[in-house]
Symmetry: C2
Subunit: 245 residues, 2 copies
């Protein structure tokens, strides 16, 4: 995995973020630039998620974090450096969880793995309400949704941060669907990726479209529907399936 060192998952969720707690431990500057002041990261995460990279000013970030603008530069060197730090922080956690879930599933089932089981292992860690509830994760998911749909640098960013786990997933899918052409596995994952990020983004569109019948924020239902949809999509790759004809 090409991802550089990440901070331990436990200490991360300092969500209220209004009163900055007296930070302890080693100074962040010593660690190559990936770590930094949590309050700034939290503020930037929320703002980037809502307005995108260019829609946010460092003044807004520093004001929300309760620090001075110059401090942002001290920690993250540039606006882009701040963005990368925000993006990496939870990506590292997410990747570790998904990798662990896929490994555990493979070890438990071996040759008895199914498409559905793989989708559960891949999707549940992201969408399960119990694990990633909270405004910080919600903001982060909204951010990923935007980046995934941003031309050129968005695609490159997603590749840089998330590819290892996805290749692991596709390797396992290949074993479950040995008849499926390689390219179609990638295309199918691509569809799943679009559906997943839009769902994670919680843009409110589904709520408006359904006249309130469905709620974007209902992650429990979202997870169920996501697994069902993704499973159906991959299963359709089996030769002889009616939908693939």
């Amino acid at each position: 995995m090409s991802l550089s060192g990440h901070s331990p998952p436990g200490e991360l969720e300092s969500e209220p973020a209004d009163a900055r707690p007296p930070r302890r431990g080693r100074p962040p500057k010593a660690e190559g630039g990936s770590a930094g002041d949590t309050a700034i990261l939290d503020a930037a995460e929320a703002l980037f998620a809502e307005h995108g990279f260019d829609g946010v000013t460092l003044r807004q970030v520093s004001k929300r974090a309760g620090v001075d603008t110059a401090l942002v530069h001290y920690y993250f060197s540039s606006k882009r450096g701040l963005f990368d730090a925000v993006f990496l922080r939870r990506a590292a956690i997410l990747n570790e969880e998904r990798l662990r879930a896929l490994d555990a599933y493979e070890r438990a089932q071996g040759a008895r793995m199914t498409v559905r089981g793989l989708m559960e292992a891949f999707l549940r860690p992201v969408l399960e309400p119990s694990t990633h509830t909270g405004p910080g994760w919600r903001s982060y998911f909204a951010l990923v949704a935007q980046v995934n749909n941003t031309p050129v640098w968005g695609g490159e960013t997603m590749t840089r941060y998330f590819d290892p786990v996805i290749h692991r997933l596709i390797d396992l899918l290949r074993r479950v669907l040995p008849e499926a052409p390689e390219a179609e596995l990638y295309w199918a994952y691509h569809m799943v990726s679009g559906a997943l990020t839009l769902t994670m983004g919680q843009t409110g569109r589904l709520d408006l479209l359904s006249g309130g019948l469905c709620a974007s924020s209902d992650l429990s239902t979202a997870a169920d529907r996501m697994v069902a949809f993704a499973t159906a999509g991959f299963e359709a790759l089996r030769p002889g399936t009616s939908t693939s004809a």
Copy 2:
């Protein structure tokens, strides 16, 4: 349909956009603000698609269009007005085509409609290379992908411009899948929407992920995979389907 009047499809594709042709016809100001100088719209479309709303300055737009900055305000009043005009222009065309395709399919098949047929009617007009090739449409699709994944105002914008056709689609799907719960139809469409916009966005991510095996720009294959995937997703809503268990 709540969309206000749109310009005729024929004259739209003035793609080269380097030398601005001497425009003829009635002055655009007289038409409520939705019409305007095509060169400005083309330039703004390309730039908004690549950098998002906040990533573009009116100076960049006017420079690319070969006109003065003040002229943008003359035609479109504000940056937001320009964006809305860009977004509406091709949305109106797209809606008309999709509505026509759905109507034709319903009239031709009646009670013999299928999920696959509906997906073809809904998706082909968008993805078929022959109809919407060209840098203008490509930019527009990339723009839609970003808007669809933008929180709050993105969802509202998509709703405002595209909902009528989508409700028409869901009405027809309801007749083909009468056993499917209403909410699940919306959720399934939501998944299709995410997959479709990411595909239309052509971010280059699929190319990177697959190591060049798949090409985002291969819209012909994209259309086939998209139809197959969406069909499988909706078919899974039938009670008793293995993937829905």
